[in-house]
Subunit: 681 residues, 2 copies
């Protein structure tokens, strides 16, 4: 599943991008390489086409992409993008995640906690303002000046915080800064979802593989004031099979890429971050797998978390493989050497590589404390956000940490206050795990370990914190949010007390990181961006930043060790692959509807589009601008796509509209949606 990786460190900023090869590129919609595409495909979209597509493209704050597919706020995305919503709405009485959700009445559609849908309405270049504010500052002074200017721009850009959101985005690692303005919809509800097994047929073993047989699709609906919103700029639903070789566009929000990290950034990744991540996340996986076997309730409550862990782990294992493949890393080194050679003697560029080396050297010392002084727990996460928000809101907007400025607070508040279930056993499991890993990696005698644990054991501390806190109750969180520092200081809730105990050290580490790592990288990133534009002109796309991009490509299989992998699978193939045993047990709805399902309908297909985690749910659009599928995965080769794209092997995996239409009509019937999608009144 192309969802954003858990625990992927947002602190590592992508630096810059490389000259793109055929079909490579996650392009911003204001810089589509039309000439380049026309040269390869004999056709390319014009600005009107691009503008229309932009108006229908949706970002989901849960970390996915989507699109409006009707004028009544209906949104197409992946099943795995709304699995958490299904889990949050489930109970002993009704297991929506297992059973799926079909509603014949809009008033029954299910609210999705924490979820918000956003559509880009304007993109404004603010590079000169930001760079002007940074001036010749360095270190923490630089990051403070930059962040204050960003806060001011965002605040001024969006005065109506109820329906708009403003976000300044760093592109090319600091080469460009752009203000993205969004129309936002903070009430998002679930309209249709298949059974979990229909979406996850093949489970973890088939994830990031192809051939696939996955109904990884679902429909949401945006609401406002309790009513479905009008969405006149929707994309037309086109339930047809793909044609081999036809051009396809993926329009969505790739989360992050690291396509032109310098050598020392890649070395840090390979030598430090990935090994720690593989070991610790694998242990968490084992703990959750075993815990889920303890009862049917835990199996239900843990499933969404386990899926997320296994998906992330597969991503990290794929990255480890890529960075341990000398042929792959050789290409990355060659690209760096080429840029260095082309930049030699250009005094304006200087030597950003040495700056990055220094930043990474500092980051190696900061990394473990940074990582392990933020234990994993939803309840502690609430506490930490409440504490930081209260502390930051006492400051002027220009003085706050970036996550707590006026423009950021509305979504934060929504995420804190939305009601969603907390499973204490699961929260204990993750907290106990992360505290024990902190002690293991920092060492029992480390001051940070002592700060985290005192004389307690990870197990004992976890018991007292999770059993003692009341933060699972949204009303308690609201009181603390509204009450600000006074309420926080007066609180005897053990999670709040614990979050306060950690806060000073977390701030100290943040300051050190700004001074020694983020500050230098902002300067080097800008220089590297200049170097790249000087060397390669405007054939460049910025590294992914979970903002709207378009990639072009075509429907095509690939050659795997001499064997052709066909570009599509069929609905009938599900039954051939089914063994009757999980995760290869056909979903009940499929079995029941077998006689009715068209066995030859295209189920999943692959394209050469260049995507990455965050693109999940992106509409796959044909030349006519109609939707023929939803991207939900990459093949196994695409996992190295974080660092570089290989058009001969990397593939996007799509669930076809043809298959979704079959499901809507015959497997999980939703006649109202079928009618709505058809455009008939």
């Amino acid at each position: 599943m192309i969802r954003t990786a858990l625990f992927a460190s947002a602190a590592i900023a992508a630096l810059a991008s490389v000259p793109a090869s055929a079909d490579e590129g996650m392009w911003t919609l204001d810089a589509f390489p039309a000439e380049r595409m026309r040269a390869d495909y004999g056709w390319a979209p014009d600005q009107a086409w691009l503008d229309k597509v932009r108006g229908g493209a949706v970002r989901l704050t849960g970390g996915c992409s989507a699109s409006f597919v009707s004028p009544q706020g209906l949104i197409l995305t992946n099943h795995h993008c709304i699995a958490t919503c299904l889990a949050d709405n489930s109970s002993e009485a009704k297991d929506y995640l297992n059973d799926g959700f079909v509603s014949s009445r809009r008033e029954d559609e299910l609210k999705c906690p924490g979820q918000q849908a956003e559509v880009v309405t304007a993109i404004t270049d603010v590079t000169s303002r930001i760079k002007g504010a940074m001036g010749s500052l360095t270190g923490e002074a630089l990051t403070k000046a930059r962040d204050a200017e960003i806060a001011a721009i965002e605040k001024a850009g969006c005065t109506d915080l109820k329906t708009t959101r403003c976000q300044v985005v760093t592109l090319f690692g600091g080469g460009q800064y752009k203000l993205y303005t969004y129309r936002k919809y903070s009430d998002v509800r679930l309209a249709w979802a298949p059974e979990d097994r229909a979406a996850t047929f093949g489970g973890d073993p088939d994830n990031f593989n192809f051939p696939r047989y996955s109904m990884d699709a679902s429909f949401l609906r945006a609401y406002e004031d309790g009513k479905p919103v009008a969405s006149p700029q929707f994309l037309k639903w086109n339930p047809r099979p793909p044609v081999k070789g036809e051009a396809t566009f993926v329009v969505g929000n790739p989360g992050s890429t690291s396509r032109l990290w310098t050598g020392s950034q890649l070395a840090f990744e390979r030598e430090v971050r990935l090994p720690v991540t593989l070991a610790t996340l694998s242990e968490l996986r084992g703990r959750v797998i075993r815990a889920m076997q303890e009862s049917p309730t835990k199996e239900r409550e843990g499933l969404d978390t386990l899926n997320g862990i296994e998906n992330s782990l597969k991503v990290f294992i794929g990255r480890t493989k890529a960075l341990n493949d000398p042929a792959f890393t050789g290409k990355l080194s060659a690209a760096e050497a080429d840029l260095r050679a082309k930049s030699a003697g250009n005094a304006a560029i200087g030597d950003p590589w040495t700056t990055v080396d220094g930043a990474m050297s500092a980051y190696r010392s900061l990394y473990l404390p940074l990582r392990f002084t933020q234990p994993s727990s939803d309840l502690l996460g609430y506490a930490q956000t409440l504490v930081f928000a209260a502390q930051e809101r006492e400051k002027d907007n220009s003085e706050r940490l970036p996550g707590y400025t006026d423009s950021r607070l509305p979504l934060l508040e929504k995420q804190i206050l939305d009601e969603r279930p907390i499973h204490p056993w699961l929260d204990k499991l993750t907290l106990e795990w992360s505290l024990s890993k902190a002690r293991e990696y920092l060492g029992a005698d480390d001051p940070d370990t002592k700060l985290l644990l005192g004389k307690a054991s990870p197990e004992g501390l976890t018991e007292s914190l999770v059993n003692g806190t009341k933060l699972a109750d949204p009303a308690v969180r609201k009181a603390l949010w509204d009450g600000g520092m006074k309420a926080i200081k007066a609180s005897e809730d053990p999670m709040i007390v614990y979050a306060l105990r950690l806060a000073d050290r977390q701030r100290e580490l943040r300051k050190l990181t700004d001074a020694q790592y983020s500050g230098p990288l902002a300067i080097a990133g800008s220089q590297l961006s200049d170097a790249r534009f000087a060397a390669y002109g405007d054939t460049l796309y910025p590294d992914a930043t979970f903002t709207l991009r378009i990639s072009y490509g075509k429907v095509a299989g690939w050659t795997e060790r001499g064997n052709e992998v066909p570009y599509e699978t069929t609905m009938g193939g599900t039954f051939d692959r089914a063994t009757g045993n999980a995760p290869y047990d056909a979903a009940g709805g499929f079995v029941a509807a077998k006689a009715k399902i068209d066995p030859n309908a295209t189920y999943n297909f692959v394209t050469t589009n260049d995507i990455i985690g965050g693109n999940s749910g992106s509409p796959v659009i044909d030349r006519a601008g109609t939707v023929i599928g939803a991207a939900f995965d990459g093949n196994i080769h695409s996992l190295g796509g974080n660092y570089g794209y290989d058009g001969t092997l990397n593939r996007t995996v799509v669930v076809s509209t043809d298959a979704v239409q079959e499901a809507l009509e015959k497997i999980y019937p939703a006649p109202a949606l079928v009618k709505e999608l058809s455009g008939k009144k």
Copy 2:
């Protein structure tokens, strides 16, 4: 804990060794570098001293080292070396692992299943015979000829299989072959062990660290015909504190090192084996941790397994760190470059590096199938051994696989037939885990996955195999062992049927490995050994092979980031470090005896001796030849010791006889042992 790493692949033969730096070296007792030591220490042992020590040194087939410390068969080793014996003897009624074991009467001493004690009685050079048999053969023909000659030498060397064992050992990766003859004692019983928490105080967080406060000591006794054996060649027990700077010798059986692997072997390790191992073993760790929380019984039954997993994982994490440290690997590359330069133009040596590169390239394709077609389960392990033993015993001794020749069968039979408890939940856990990892790493559509699983799920197959088998019953195993192929073929036991289903493929992979990997490495290993002796003369020691070695060094702390780490801890320090919470909760016996314990008695201490997993339990001997401690661990720096020794940082961690004497007298009183150790009648 310096115990041999779980899942460490014995298939990767160490190739050769480097010229030793100060205190470096795991020397064979027939090639002690007396001159070198004398130059540094002003004294060195003579052959009589070495012979005496050899007579008292014991190898434990469980993977540890030890020593006779009385003339009545009393053996000193580590607690962690006999923890499995304690666990195997425990039940709901009596938890020996938790409580420890003290017996006032020899007849109550506890039998240790599968354990055998061995003392070297002769070492004979058989290099010319083996190399003669290999002649100019290559590939599988070479390994067959070599293994047949080894089988013949071992069979002829030991006619009395009840009390002797013969083993041909490959040294210098194929440069030398030596026949080791052992006096063996196959009835080993436990005489004394402290509480688990006394031995494991600080648990996994403190493992491979120092300062330490660990009573990682225990006593076994060798029996024959139901009576303690006479062991006139014992080492004298000397309960005294170590003196800073004094010379120390560690005499034991280091398991394996890889000190001069070529670059392509190290690359395979870093790029393939370690990442797979970190991820899979961490997941197993998580599963076991969580399962142990399900009940006190599971906590007891799983503890020894968890300790083993965590210890191995720490070793692998340490190796990952070492191989990801450019300064460290730079030294290894420089050593290789030096040897290549010194060997250039020597036609007799040829180009073994290219041969190794080819072998490693082949091994990369074979590694995952080899690893994952041998699922982890004690019960399946019994079945696989029974199947292979029956098949192999139908062949002539010279035709058998190395593990099943006449000289190897007695220990194998003992390990199969000894009664020991099997915990079905734990066996299911490991089997389910390893089958699911096989599917993950080989892929769901791989023929080996289909062989392993058919249409079943890992969970379903595991249930039917473990619930259906009767192999937990030693009588059932004995009937199958005695019944040979006829009994195996007639068996309807699902584990036997399953083992038979896997056997052909396992043999096929073995043949491919012999042909493409082991055969070429045997030739290259011999050439590399010749190159090394030509370049560096006889200043070399062979890589570790779990055979008897001696290392010399001294009592010394080290400097850690500018701070001096003292060379010793004291008994009283335990109480300062105790927090009351696991694993820093002082053992009950310590708390009860606190007033009596001498707080200034040396507890643990560190030396510069060069050791590795397998050395656990080795006697630490002073110049007088008396025992002043038992080696039980290395510090964190020693984990890179698999690839290279750094005398400024690598340390051996020892539990002092001074502390053990305190325990024997005051904490877990054993007056009979105190008397026996004192030599008084």
